[in-house]
């Protein structure tokens, strides 16, 4: 049986089909009778007689057929879909190059979007993992009116007043860092701890996995010292022993009773993952007054309260405190930040920028595919014309073409989803670890839904235009013209798509250029200290056996002495805060005898170092003297400030010999400035200089010094020597961990490098796609105009003129696309915002380089088709018709 191209009948076709079916029967039956010797007339009569009551039967069949068609409507539709699908798959199999290109482009485009969305959704769109987390607020004090831009922590008395006086919060909890050393059982170990007010876990809405959590009663001065373990430390150090409850741990030489274990899923909204939690205990009586900003605070607003209402409420209390304690609280306001913003805020700009970038890449990919399909559609104009002539409706043809693009999209999207799941893990490094801990990054139903929607959208985006274009009525004349001519409108559409591609590519290239320049500038920033060849090792001396600085200094200096004689170590110095590390410490700073100015800093960032530190770290002493071994406990307190501090505290004067007081009252410690060092960027290359004060370690010793080792040979033997010496001096002191300066510098630059790299990859993909688009359009245009070119050449046109014609067309596309893209790119700087460093949003080198690169690539892409046009053989071109 040969297949005929038959489109399903509509309702009206039903009776016609039945009539034809019966007529065919009668004719064939009559022919049978004729073969037996009847005349045609007799045969027809015999056939009719054998058939029976024709009109009655026809009527019966017609009604049967009607109901069949109606009930079959949906199945029919499915069958058509399957038929279209088969046709589409057959067509795609026949063009493997096209199919592979399209599917790969889509898979990459959709995969990148899916992966990035999984990160974006996990971090920015999902609420924090605490019950009713939208009620949680990070509470800061606001010192902007006092010339300090950053939010500030709270003082213990202010915290008590804010906590007890407000009407908008159901709870307000405070916390601060705590570094307990665990001794007594097994290796001594420095643990990460945090002191929290008794209601901390209540405010967060956390329940214990084992035992109980802390309560307000634990905050009482006389309460038994109790401790809550994180799940991690419970498993790691105590083998998940359920009998841990009631046991005592020796922390910093004191006994603490374990009362509970937190659930594994609990992650506190902190920058770190503490292993132990203890009660803060009566913060108001800790001897720290209203000038002492030591507490971080989170609050939970009552249900239905807005952050505005909370701000007004707490603001009233702050205003009252400012009147009561003008010395400390004047111009101290309230700064509330939703906890979600507080935690995920820094990831917002990079994620949105990268999201926009992958979105653009997908748009460019779709435009490219639309172009490919247009060209393909033009090649099939004849085939489609035939089908239209055979009675296929325009809607039916559009549907069939759309099935093809949807099939492509579905295959691409499926692959894309797999890529997205794989890429999600990869991209999760975009998010700082502490945010990742709280907002775990994974592919969930929403991400899958997003990918499916994106796939459908892409399919519609790159499929609909070409489908509509191909079945335009005038194209049905394609039968006549041999299916070669697409008409001007199709060309315009293709050109428009290419212009859009080029414009998007320009936007991405500008973004990539800006980020790359930022990264290069950041990398070239002189940090102000050596960036290789030293390793930092921290130790923690337990408070119980080292009750004061003098005792700590004794051990530290003994250790220093041993290390200085060690052949594995070239030099060793001490700081209490290595550069580029989390944490900072500041003290109140008032220049004595200076008139009070509004732009003068209130506090100074502070580090204690040994005299050799500056030389070892290659920091330049600008004026005055270095510390000496005589600057010790008991001698006059001295300090060295950086140039930034000199400029801000004593503008235009020599600070050497002047005095910084650490408070307003006369009893506050006073520091004599003996020297000035060059400013250094201790917080990272993209951070501004801060006002800094260095103090002699021997004068302000601490229990947590960090040794700066410059190895004589390799880092490992230096560290081994350090551990050996420490064991000899005090075997119970744990090492807190070591960092090489190269690692610290590397991780400070790792995120900017990653952003620049990713946007660079996306921009390169965009550029290649756009250039491919230009090539496709130009090559197609030349192929279309082959005859015209042939005629021109035959009439004596110079081949170089033909080349100019083609190149000029490509150049025009490039010019329009680049122009539009550059206009759009002006807004890119705004989107990149905080990601830029040292470049303006309209960075001239970037805005010059991008058009040159794009223009060059476009000319290259037009060159090949132009050359082909030049070599058109007029005879061949015209005979072709």
């Amino acid at each position: 049986m040969k297949k005929a191209f038959h489109l399903s009948p509509g309702r009206d076709g039903a009776s016609e089909d039945v009539r034809r079916e019966i007529e065919l029967h009668l004719e064939m039956r009559a022919r049978e009778f004729e073969a037996q010797g009847m005349t045609p007339e007799e045969a027809r009569q015999a056939a009719l007689a054998a058939f029976g009551d024709r009109s009655a039967i026809e009527a019966e069949v017609r009604s049967l057929r009607g109901t069949t068609l109606r009930s079959r409507g949906r199945r029919e539709w499915m069958q058509e879909l399957l038929q279209d699908l088969r046709v589409a798959l057959r067509g795609l199999r026949r063009a493997p190059g096209f199919t592979a290109t399209a599917v790969l482009t889509l898979a990459l485009g959709i995969g990148a979007n899916s992966a990035l969305f999984s990160v974006l959704r996990s971090v920015l769109l999902r609420p924090l993992p605490y019950p009713n987390s939208n009620e949680l607020i990070q509470v800061w004090s606001d010192h902007r009116a006092r010339g300090r831009a950053e939010p500030e922590w709270l003082t213990p008395p202010d915290f008590i007043d804010w906590r007890d006086g407000n009407r908008t919060f159901s709870g307000m909890a405070a916390y601060q860092g705590w570094g307990p050393d665990l001794t007594g059982s097994g290796e001594p170990e420095a643990l990460g701890g945090v002191s929290v007010s008794g209601n901390y876990f209540n405010v967060l809405g956390t329940a214990p996995a084992l035992g109980r959590l802390l309560s307000m009663a634990d905050d009482d001065a006389g309460a038994e010292p109790v401790i809550v373990l994180s799940d991690a430390v419970w498993r790691r150090r105590f083998g998940a022993d359920p009998g841990i409850l009631g046991k005592q741990l020796n922390l910093n030489g004191e006994p603490w009773t374990v009362v509970g274990v937190l659930p594994a899923a609990f992650n506190p909204p902190l920058g770190v993952r503490p292993e132990l939690y203890r009660a803060l205990r009566r913060p108001a009586t800790s001897g720290c007054g209203r000038g002492c900003y030591v507490l971080r605070v989170i609050g939970r607003m009552k249900p239905g309260v807005t952050i505005e209402q909370a701000r007004i409420d707490l603001g009233g209390i702050a205003a009252r405190l400012a009147r009561e304690f003008p010395g400390t609280n004047e111009k101290v306001g309230v700064w509330l930040v939703p906890l979600h913003t507080q935690i995920t805020g820094p990831t917002r700009d990079p994620l949105l920028a990268l999201g926009a970038a992958v979105g653009f890449v997908l748009l460019i990919a779709c435009a490219n595919l639309a172009n490919l399909l247009l060209v393909r559609g033009a090649g099939r104009a004849r085939e489609l014309g035939v089908r239209a002539a055979l009675g296929a409706g325009r809607g039916r043809l559009v549907r069939q073409l759309m099935t093809e693009s949807s099939t492509l999209a579905a295959i691409g999207g499926g692959l894309g989803l797999l890529l997205g799941i794989a890429g999600s893990n990869l991209l999760s490094t975009l998010v700082p670890g502490n945010v990742r801990n709280i907002q775990g990054i994974h592919v969930d139903g929403t991400v899958i839904g997003f990918t499916v929607a994106l796939t459908l959208l892409s399919g519609a985006l790159f499929g609909l235009l070409p489908a509509l274009q191909v079945v335009r009525p005038e194209l049905m004349g394609a039968l006549k013209s041999g299916g070669r001519d697409m008409g001007g409108a199709g060309g315009r559409l293709r050109s428009g798509l290419v212009v859009a591609e080029l414009a998007f590519a320009v936007v991405l290239l500008v973004g990539a250029g800006l980020l790359l320049r930022s990264f290069l500038l950041m990398q070239r920033v002189d940090l102000g200290y050596r960036t290789s060849g030293v390793t930092f090792v921290g130790i923690g001396l337990p408070r119980a056996r080292y009750p004061d600085g003098a005792r700590a200094l004794l051990t530290v200096e003994e250790l220093l002495g041993r290390l200085r004689g060690n052949p594995a170590i070239r030099s060793v110095e001490i700081t209490d805060l290595p550069p580029l590390s989390a944490g900072d410490q500041d003290v109140t700073a008032i220049p004595v005898g200076e008139p009070r100015r509004t732009d003068q800093p209130e506090a100074i960032w502070y580090r204690a170092v040994t005299p050799g530190y500056f030389a070892q770290m290659q920091m330049r002493l600008v004026s005055g003297r270095n510390f000496t071994p005589e600057d010790r406990l008991g001698s006059v307190e001295v300090g060295i400030i950086n140039e930034e501090a000199a400029r801000r505290f004593w503008p235009g004067k020599d600070p050497v010999g002047r005095i910084l007081a650490q408070g307003e009252d006369s009893t506050a410690p006073r520091i004599t400035i003996v020297g000035v060092v060059a400013s250094a960027r201790h917080d990272g290359p993209n951070q501004p200089y801060k006002v800094e004060l260095f103090a002699p370690f021997a004068q302000t010793p601490s229990r947590g010094p960090t040794f700066v080792l410059e190895p004589a040979r390799d880092v490992e033997s230096a560290l081994a020597a350090f551990r050996q010496a420490l064991k000899e001096v005090d075997p119970l002191v744990p090492v807190a961990g070591s960092d090489r300066i190269e690692q610290l510098v590397g991780s400070a630059l790792s995120l900017p490098r990653l952003y620049a790299l990713l946007i660079g990859i996306f921009a390169t993909a965009a550029l290649l796609l756009a250039v491919l688009g230009v090539y496709g359009v130009m090559a197609y245009a030349v192929a279309q105009r082959q005859r015209e070119i042939g005629v021109r050449l035959a009439l004596g046109a110079a081949p170089s003129g033909i080349r100019r014609l083609v190149l000029g067309q490509g150049g025009k596309l490039a010019l329009i696309g680049t122009g539009l893209g550059l206009l759009a790119a002006l807004a890119v700087g705004k989107l990149l915002g905080s990601l830029l460093f040292g470049v303006s949003a309209i960075d001239p080198p970037t805005f010059v380089a991008v058009p040159i690169i794009l223009g060059g690539m476009t000319i290259l892409a037009s060159w090949l088709p132009a050359r082909r046009a030049m070599r058109v053989d007029p005879l061949v071109a015209m005979r072709d018709e």
Binding site: M1, A4, D17, L24, A50, D53, I57
Partner: protein, 111 residues
């Protein structure tokens, strides 16, 4: 079945059998029934068509348009998967029915 002296359901069974070797148009099905029953069963040929359309509606047959040997466009009937299943169950039933009827009709007189 109107205008038919075939036993109930047997026309349907014959149609399913006729299409079991491949798609066939209505005339071809009718001719096969006539020939394979040695033209002994006098059927009004037109009665075939309501039966065909009924079987189609029940999903045992599906239509397929094709060309006849003489290059005429014609509606072909194709046995569906469920039709094939129906054919085999009906065959089993028919054989059992025929055996029982034969047994009954050739039985001895009751004593």
């Amino acid at each position: 079945m109107a205008g038919s002296d075939l036993y109930t359901g047997s026309l349907d069974l014959l149609i399913l059998k006729a299409t079991s070797w491949g798609p066939l148009h209505g005339y071809g099905i009718g001719r096969w029934i006539r020939q394979s029953t040695r033209e002994a069963l006098s059927v009004q040929e037109g009665a075939l068509y309501p039966a065909l359309h009924r079987l189609e509606r029940q999903g045992y047959l599906e239509e397929e348009w094709g060309l006849t040997d003489t290059n005429r466009e014609a509606k072909f009937y194709k046995l569906t998967r469920t039709g094939r299943k129906q054919l085999s169950t009906e065959l089993v039933r028919w054989r059992r029915y025929a055996r029982l009827m034969t047994a009954a009709l050739t039985a001895a007189r009751p004593s």
